[in-house]
Symmetry: C2
Subunit: 214 residues, 2 copies
Amino acid sequence: MNKPDTASDRPEPPTASRKEQQAIVARDRIVRAVIDCLDEHGYAETSINRIQEHAGISRGALTHHFPSKEELMVVTAERLLQPTLVPPRKGSRHFDTAEQRISAVEADIVWMWERLVDTREGRALLEILVATRTDVALKGRISETFVRWNRAINDSLAANYLLHGLAEDEQRELWTMCRVFLRGLNTQSQFEPDHHARSALVRSFARMIATRFV
Amino acid sequence: MNKPDTASDRPEPPTASRKEQQAIVARDRIVRAVIDCLDEHGYAETSINRIQEHAGISRGALTHHFPSKEELMVVTAERLLQPTLVPPRKGSRHFDTAEQRISAVEADIVWMWERLVDTREGRALLEILVATRTDVALKGRISETFVRWNRAINDSLAANYLLHGLAEDEQRELWTMCRVFLRGLNTQSQFEPDHHARSALVRSFARMIATRFV
DNA sequence: CTAGACAAACAGAACGTTCGTTCTGTATCT
DNA sequence: AGATACAGAACGAACGTTCTGTTTGTCTAG
């Protein structure tokens, strides 16, 4: 119990013995299965049985790596928040004209939608988010992670755009609006089944937000 | 099975016999219990047992009125979409100045958040929406209802604001953005637990949207 | 270098609980 | 009388957890 903190998910910190690597691979397979199941069947129907079958792993192996379902969801949530959630910088971020800056922001918002939100991972995260709202045990385990992530992502995004004309608070607010909107759009498919219509909505929204970046 | 279509939820169409009223009251109690359970415990934990206990009704009575859980969710979803989801008209909707119009739209968006989305009913609807995404049986029963509601609500909102300077398509798009944003905000509490911060975000968003109503 | 103790990885049976549904029976209104 | 409202027991299936084995690397004493 004197290990660093949580179990390591990254391939090799110092060295990884064969047994450790084996465990890492298994844990990875399981977490991926959880993400797939959440996306395909939703939180309510993501049972241990289903995860086990989808991961192609025995019941014993699953319970060995994750003693409880709660543990499974906590680790999955952390995994889903792990990737860099900031659009990649393409060249310099110093823009000469306002129109250049607007286009860049617009493209980044569309990128967020296509690469982060409207994906297996994005939908899986939504399932966990909604479930966490009412599951007090789960909330106690990961709510702090969510709050910290929220602060970190706002800082990263603000740092990504060097604007002197717009207060940092306002920038953070605009990016928060983006995330909220895109998350809401993940549930809009019930009302608007046409995928193109939703994409068009993203573009309109992106343009509206982008023009606020003076 | 030759009844109109679905069971009636409205109090009295022509006359209501004592037995009919009794049934209506029971059904209403049950649907309210479902809404409360969805809000408090989420979709996954809204079991028949819990609903029955919360409604203060026997198991037999529950299964008598709603033979299956799916039926229960369908009726609840229809109930949640039933109320007028358009802000009440306050006086005339003909505005002299642009600033008046902006203020009116802004106030209406805040009204939607406070009275429709950030409520028991709003959260319950979100639970059903998310569950419906992956539950094919449920989807088959209510997806058409969602689509029709979406069209109807856009028409109502557009009709509520007599604008000649803005194309109707653009108005519908703006209102859709509002609904998507507010729905997404219902899941934002995990990232931003401070209720005041979220309210402030609504006001900022409302102002941004309102200024688009030229 | 290797024998062997030990812990970790894995397999699967068994646990009690809860799920949603079905069934039989009783009271009440039409 | 007959249908409807209600009550509650009983059902098998599925849930998440706990348990007992078996295999397989790892580490150390000799």
